[in-house]
Every structure is written in C-alpha cells, then in structure tokens.
C-alpha cells in the first residue's frame, strides 16, 4: 500500500467513525425538557390544533388519501390527533385513543398513502411557520409509528 493510499484508507476510516458515532448518538436525549421545548416550538396546544386543522384540509383535497378519512367524526379525530402530538411533543396532554396498530389495522395503508400523509403534515407545519428544527424533531418522534400504522 502506497503512503497516499494508506492516507486515503485512514480518511475513509475516519468518515466511517463519524458515521458510526452519529448513528450511536441517535437517542441521546430522554423525553425531558428538550421535548417540552418542542411543545413550545409547535405553538403549544393552540398551535398544534391549528396545524392539525391545516392537515385535515390538506387531506380532504388529496385524492391519494381522502377516501381513507371518509365518514370519520372530524371533531373527534382532530381532538385525538392533537392530543397525540401534544403528548409526544412533551405537552400537558394525554392521548386516550387506540394504539396505532389497532386503529389502522383495517385500512390497508400503502406506502404511497403513508408518504402522502407525511407530505401533508410537513406542508401543514410549514403553513404554521414551524421552524425546520422543530419540524424535524416532531418527524423524529412520528417516524417510528410507520411500522404499526402500515401493519408491518
């Protein structure tokens, strides 16, 4: 191995270490003040409710997923989703609805539909001028629900 190739190997190893380190540091924070910050950044209960309302308007106009929401009790759904996001983000709420796997089991949600909802949630957050960092933190908390919602 020439010195240059040796240096390249070293550089590559360093990059791998950085990658590995970041992976390992994925869950360094427990749900404490950091998540309460998130609740503030989302605009507390009122902000979350507006965001969920925006989300519902986007869903109704999205032909990829609107049919999955036909016939729901909109007020009930709005309250439950607001509760859930409020609680997840460290707010003083309690989600009392069914488990994600249970409530979505009969819906046969496709990846396309899941992506459509994620997209609408991001657009709803943008409409509410939620800062990028707070958007990412909420998505970090919601992404793990994917397996249950899709029934995988």
């Amino acid at each position: 191995m020439t010195p240059e190739r040796f240096m390249n190997a070293i550089r590559f190893t360093l990059l791998l270490l950085v990658l590995g380190g970041l992976t390992a540091c994925q869950h360094p924070h427990t749900p404490d003040h950091r998540d309460a910050d998130l609740y503030q950044a989302l605009g507390e209960r009122a902000g979350i409710e507006t965001m969920v309302e925006n989300l519902l308007y986007l869903i109704v106009e999205d032909e990829r997923i609107a049919f999955q929401f036909k016939g729901i009790d909109v007020a009930h759904f709005h309250r439950q989703l607001s509760d859930q996001i409020c609680e997840l983000s460290g707010g003083p709420c309690l989600y009392t609805g069914r488990k994600m796997r249970e409530s979505h089991s009969a819906m046969a949600i496709t990846e396309t539909q899941f992506n459509a909802l994620t997209e609408n949630l991001i657009l709803a957050m943008e409409q509410n001028r939620i800062p990028t960092g707070a958007q990412n933190r909420l998505l970090a908390l919601l992404a793990p629900l994917h397996q249950d919602i899709r029934g995988l």
């Binding site: 020439t2 240059e4 190739r5 390249n8 190997a9 550089r11 590559f12 990059l15 791998l16 950085v18 990658l19 970041l22 992976t23 540091c25 994925q26 990829r64 496709t110 990846e111 396309t112 899941f114 992506n115 459509a116 994620t118 997209e119 991001i122 990028t132 960092g133 707070a134 990412n136 933190r137 998505l139 970090a140 992404a143 793990p144 994917h146 397996q147």
Partner: protein, 288 residues
C-alpha cells in the same frame, strides 16, 4: 470556467424542456428522497450510489429521471447523460453515457475522448430510508461497455466491458445535527473498473474483482437544500499510472419533486499520469 457556464446554459435550456414534461406527477415519496443522479446513472449523490431508488415513485407508482452532468477538471472534462425508471420503489433501471474529454492529452494521443455506456439495475432489498430504524438497503449492478478501447488497451486494460456489483445502505437521521436531518450512506462495490471503467477493466497489475468502500454524508439545511461530502475508494490495476480515490463536496437544491440541481467540488486525484484532477461539477435532474 466559461465552458462550464456555457454548459450550464445549455443544460438549463434542456431542463426548461424537461421540466414541463416532468411536472405532471413525479410520485409520492418525500422531497429529495430520490437523491440525485450519479455520474454512472444510478440514484445517489454525484460519485457514490445510495440505497434510495431514483425519482419519487412509491409502492403503487412508476417514475423516473433524466439527468445531465458535467465536471470540468484541470485536464479533463467528465460528462454524463442518463435516464432512469423506477417501478414501485422496488426496481430502478438506468441507462446512460459517460464521456471523459481528453482536453490536455487529446492532441498527443490522437483521440478526443474516452467514453462508455452504463446499464444499471438496483433493487430495494429491505427497509426505508426515512421510516425504518435500520434504514434502507439495496443491491445493484452497473454493466459498463467502452465505446472506444484503443487507449485503455494501450495502457494495459484487460477488457472493454465490466460489471460492478454493489450493496448500499442509506438512512436519514431526523434532527440529528443541530436539529437538522442527516443522511448517511455506505456502499461496498465489487469492481474491476479502471477510473470507473473509462480506462477499461482489469489490468496488468491486477485483473480480479476488488471490494471498494464508498460513503457519503449530507445534512439537510432544510427540505430543499442538502450539503455534504462523498468518498469513493478505487482499485489500482494499471501499471502505467497510479489511480486515486475520489471525493467531493456537494450542495444540492431540490425546489420540488420535478427538479434537482447539484453543484460540487470534485477531486478525482491522478488520472492517466496527470496529477490531482479537480474542478467544478454541475448536474441537473428532472423527474417524471
């Protein structure tokens, strides 16, 4: 530099033609999760393929991309034109042509360029880059065929075609760095290609497959801007000149699903005895 600007203008005009066609319905996957198009046609960064499949097709959709890329190095110009199709975010098929203009060596060698066609397939084996704890894993092939073999033959290459095999893993870590999303990719490639295949396959020093590691790391500044670094190991099969690893620093702008523009500073090391080849890289991608 003037040439890069002229190329950029040409590509912008082409993009203007591509985008209206592309804007129909590029698919449902989240913005920028199709990556951009590598100089070998597979979805990825600029130099390194990622585990994500091209474009935005999700599990019930079709999609694809068109890409134009150019890198102006000190003594060479690399260009790539390619197209991909994505079936249900399960299978990516790509076809493209890659050219290395011999700006400095051309007169002495009596040839203007080295060129190859690249046919790629990539399949998503498992997982999802956004939603799965362990990310997304894909395997791919890149079959490369030299269009001119005189120079590769003269410098000791054994074959005018070759097939790279690779396995890639990609994962997005939400809010990982200053609450920004971090995209990490790792690829291991089995290859005999010299300078990616432009100088043929196998050589007087080594004619076997070698495992090479490739990696990239990018941070989403917001959902439209991704900045990062890539690194690609390369074999060194030819005795006439040393071959170096490649790396680049990139920034990609993905205003919506139909368009991606990537600018980079690439360093391809020594090429055919000309040292430390680096320069500006620009790539345009339209999705449909």
């Amino acid at each position: 530099m003037m040439r890069l600007i002229r190329t950029s203008c040409t590509t912008l005009v082409l993009a203007a033609l591509v985008i209206p066609m592309a804007s129909a319905d590029p698919g449902s996957r989240i913005w920028a999760t199709g990556g951009v198009t590598t100089i070998e046609g597979s979805a990825g960064g600029g130099l390194v393929p990622w585990a994500m499949l091209s474009g935005y097709a999700s599990d019930r959709e079709w999609g694809g991309t068109l890409a134009l890329t150019r890198a102006e190095l000190d003594d060479f110009t690399v260009s790539f034109t390619g197209v991909t199709l994505n079936w249900r975010n399960r299978l990516e098929v790509s076809v493209g042509r890659q050219t290395l203009d011999l700006d400095t060596l051309g007169a002495a060698l009596g040839e203007d360029e080295l060129s190859q066609d690249i046919f790629g397939v990539k399949t998503r084996l498992w997982g999802d880059v956004l939603y799965h704890r362990y990310g997304q894993w894909s395997a791919g092939l890149q079959h490369k065929r030299n269009r001119t073999f005189t120079i590769p033959d003269a410098v000791g290459a054994r074959d005018d075609s070759g097939t790279d095999v690779y396995l890639s893993g990609s994962k997005l870590f939400f809010a990982a760095v200053l609450d920004r999303n971090l995209l990490a990719n790792i690829t291991v490639r089995g290859t005999k290609a010299n300078q990616g295949g432009l100088l043929g396959f196998g050589g007087d020093q080594d004619d076997g497959y070698e495992a090479q590691f490739e990696s990239s790391l990018g941070v989403f500044i917001d959902r439209r801007w991704l900045a990062g670094v890539e690194y690609r190991q390369k074999p060194d099969n030819l005795g006439f000149a040393r071959e170096d690893d490649w790396w680049d620093l990139f920034i990609a702008w993905v205003p919506d699903r139909s368009l991606a523009v990537t600018a980079a500073w690439v360093n391809l090391g020594d090429i055919a005895g000309l040292e430390n080849q680096q320069g500006a890289y620009l790539s345009l991608q339209g999705s449909f």
